[in-house]
Structures are given as C-alpha cells and as structure tokens.
C-alpha cells in the first residue's frame, strides 16, 4: 500500500492508497502544530494506522509534500522511523508529469505541484485547479499540459478570522449557506459576503483567465472549504477532496 502525507499550514493530511488505484482507501487530517516533536507525530500517525487497522509493514512507498518547513523535519523523521520504505519528498526538482511555462518553478509550493499532478491524472488538460485552504490558490495547465500560472489569495477562514479580529462589531460566524445576498443581520451579511464573494472570486478568475488565454478549462476544486463554496459558482466545478493525495500517488510512479 502507498502512504501519502501533505503538510499544509492548517492541517496535515494522511491517505492510504492501493498500489494500483489513486483513490485513497482512507483520508485523515490532524491540525498542524509547529511545536510537536517527531515522537509526538509518531504517536499521531500510529493512532491513524491503528484506527484503520493498517500495519506499517504493508506500506511499500511513501510521499511527503510540505509547505511548512518547520514541521517537515519532525514529520519526515517520524515517518522514517515508522516505515521500512523510502519517504519521497516532493520538491520542484522532482520529475513532474507536466512541463512549466515559468522560467523558474522553484517558488511554486509542493502542494500546488501535487494538485496539478492529480488534475492531469484524473481530468487531463487544459484545466484549472483551485485549492481552498489557508490560502486560496488557483493554478492552470495549458493546452499543451504545461503549468501556466499561479494565483494566491487569502483563504476563506483565514480572511474571515482576520476580519473578526480586526473589527469591534463583527462576530465569528459558521459557514452555513446564506439565505440571501442581501443580509438582514450582521452574521447573514458576513455569510453573504464570504460565500458569494468567494464564489465570485473563483468565477472571476476563471472568466479572466479564459479571456486572456482563449482556452476553455476543466475546473477542479479541492481543499477543506471547497464544498462550502463550489455550489455557488456560475461555472461547473468538479469537487475532489483528495486531489492532492492522488497527485502524490502519481508522482511516486514516475520518481
């Protein structure tokens, strides 16, 4: 079996896949904690394996993607101690299933590299991928299957928390569906703003990119918050919560 691990700014995700199927057998997340030691991460990983009755000896290959350098070492050490196979780190220098139009893709986060590997594997190209996490990141694969561009903006929860912290009269809200775009109380006005706003952000980025490149993209959304937003978009959007893990699975086959 294959283990894939994705360290994001808010969550660390773990997925187990069969050798021949990208779709994970299970998918779990824990919150990212900068202070945890390798030992503590070992306990977390062991718990996940026990919950799903999987033994470490059955893991034949493992991929690790991280955008949080301070956490990478601890998790990598934990994985190396627990597993008898290699722990393959995704970096911009690994072999990717697509080319790139930028002169230098080293600043592109490994999460985005994996997302696009997942998109090309499952949905082909031209395609646009939205990852809604701590940051909302849009990236595109052009009609030759090359990584074309990346857009980064604040994530839904990130910007909402910041708004609540920086204002006196605005409360923390749940991301329930808004009743109307015309909010008649503060919480409803905020729900309307964040949910219709983020849907508009995604629609706007697709429109402008299609206008600029003249391509029609397949649009895929992933990340913890995508299911709250995608239903409100004008464009047809495929929801794939484990896209990144599938991408990592495919990277292991070619590296």
């Amino acid at each position: 079996m294959i283990l894939t691990v994705d360290i994001g700014n808010s969550n660390i995700c773990f997925a187990i896949h069969a050798e021949d199927t990208p779709e994970p057998v299970f998918f779990e997340r824990i919150h990212t904690n900068h202070n945890k030691t390798a030992l503590e991460y070992m306990v977390d990983i062991r718990t996940i394996f026990e919950l799903h009755h999987v033994s470490f000896s059955t893991i034949s290959d493992c991929a690790l993607s991280s955008v949080v350098p301070v956490v990478t070492t601890g998790v990598e050490e934990a994985l190396t101690k627990l597993l008898s196979c290699r722990v393959f780190r995704v970096t911009p220098f690994v072999h990717l299933p697509y080319g790139a139009n930028a002169d230098d893709i080293s600043p592109v986060g490994s999460d985005i590299l994996c997302d696009n590997a997942g998109t090309i594997l499952q949905y082909g190209y031209p395609a646009m991928t939205f990852d809604l996490g701590t940051a909302t990141v849009a990236s595109s694969l052009d009609d030759r299957g090359n990584l074309d561009g990346v857009l980064i903006t604040a994530g839904v929860r990130t910007s909402l928390n910041s708004l609540v912290a920086k204002t006196s009269a605005l409360p923390q809200i749940t991301l329930d569906p808004p009743q109307s775009v015309l909010g008649e109380n503060t919480a409803e006005a905020m729900r309307s703003g964040i949910i219709y706003g983020t849907a508009g952000l995604i629609d706007g980025i697709i429109d402008r990119t299609e206008q600029e490149t003249g391509l029609r993209y397949t649009v895929v959304a992933t990340g913890g918050l995508s299911r709250f937003i995608a239903p409100y978009c004008r464009h047809e959007i495929i929801l794939d919560p484990t896209l990144l893990m599938k991408g990592m699975w495919s990277l292991l086959r070619i590296n």
């Binding site: 561009g149 903006t153 708004l163 920086k166 109307s180 109380n185 849907a199």
Partner: protein, 271 residues
Amino acid sequence: MILTVNIANSHISLGCVEGEEVLFLERIFSNPQKTDLEYSVDILNAFRLHEIDRDKVDGCIISCVVPQLLSVFSDAVLRLFSLKPCIVNAASQNLIRVRAQNPSEVGSNLIVTAVSAAARYGTPAIVIDMSTATTITVIDESRTLIGAAILPGMQTSMDALTGGAAQLTQTNIVKAVTPLGRTTEQSLNGGAIYGNAGMIDGILDRMEKELQSRPVIVATGRISRILIPYCRHEITIDEELTVRGLAILYGEMEKAKHSENAAEDPEGRRV
C-alpha cells in the same frame, strides 16, 4: 463650519465642511489606548496644518463602529469645541428607511454612505465601502436600505495570508498584469487584485438581480482607487461619500432638533 468624524476599525477620518465645500479630509490611526487629550491634539493638529481657525466650528457629527472609542472621542470634541457631537445611528435620521432584523445593529457607516449615495446619485444604489471590511449595501427605489454583504477587506485578508502561511511574504499591492502569475509576487498581486475584484463583481451580479431597475454603483474607501478599475461593473469612485453623508445627516439632525424645540416651546415644557 462643521467637523465630521468617521471612527472605523483601522482609521478615524476627520472632515471639515463649510456649506458644500470640504475644506479638509484627514485620517488618523484608530487607537483604543489614546486618551481624550491625545485625540484632541490630533484634531487640533489637523486644523493647524490646514490653517483653519477651529473657533469657526459650530457643530460636530460622529459615526462610530468602534464602541470603545466613542466616548473618548466625544470628550475630545467637547474639550476642543465646547459642543456635544451628534451621533449617527439607524434611528437618528429619516432620510432613508432601514430594513433589518435589528436596525440598531446596522453599522452607522452603512447609514452614512447610503444617505450620501441616495442624495448624490439617486436610487436604487449599491454602495461599496472598502476598508478593514468591504461592505456592499443595497438601497432600493424607495430609499430603503434592504440588505448588505460584509467581507474581509483586501488588506485585511492579505495581512492574514502572509501572517498565516509560512512561505509567503508581504508584498506591495499596486497593480496586476495577469490573473495567474509566474512569480510569487505576480501570483500574490493577481490574487489580491483579481480575487477581490471577482468577489465584488460576483456579489454585485447577485444584488442586481434582486433589484427591479439598474442601480447606480458607488465605491469609496482608500483601496477603491486601486481595485475598482479591475471590476467588470461600471462603478463611480467617490472618496468624499462618507464626509458628504455626514454633513447631510448633520443638517437633518439640526433641523429636527430645531423643529422639536419650536414645537415644544409653546407648551412651556422646555426649561
């Protein structure tokens, strides 16, 4: 001559208005720690810088969305000008109606910009106010504020992003060349500009559907100049929207006070 004060979460805007003319519009940083003395010095400095005699000020109006600053700032005004400022809230005016589950909860900044937009541009109108929060308010044909959307302001979400993500650094948002960039800086600029423009366009599309006729769309706030040119909708930028709204509200509140006095005097109820 009146002093208009808009107390918001990031800044306090001071406007000096004489008749139709805005003599100055200045901003100071909102600081809940400052005392009434310190704020009165800030106000005084604005008058000194513009070489305007503060003794000419015969009225003051305050709109405030930071409750803990209101009494301190009112005291500063009282200390400098020996007058009690008028305070804006949904119930203190009858220029527009407010449809809300709890009208007292409606931010006074929304009332001020709605009054100003209705007076200067007519109705139906949609007002976009871009600061710590971006608020988008809808005023229908019958001058009723029928609802709002509140979303994180561009700088607020940008600060949160660079503070919350380990591999992203602060970048100066000026303009974006392309939505999907090829360097981190381009990617962040694209996200801030096209992302926020898309948010506003998306909300405007849905709001327009709720109105019977085509609304006038007006934007104000210091970020509007950077961002609004990237929106698909036709939007007028008016940086004096709030100060003018406050001046209109002041006039109305004074008129109401006088007619109240006139009505009450014959009864002999006033001391």
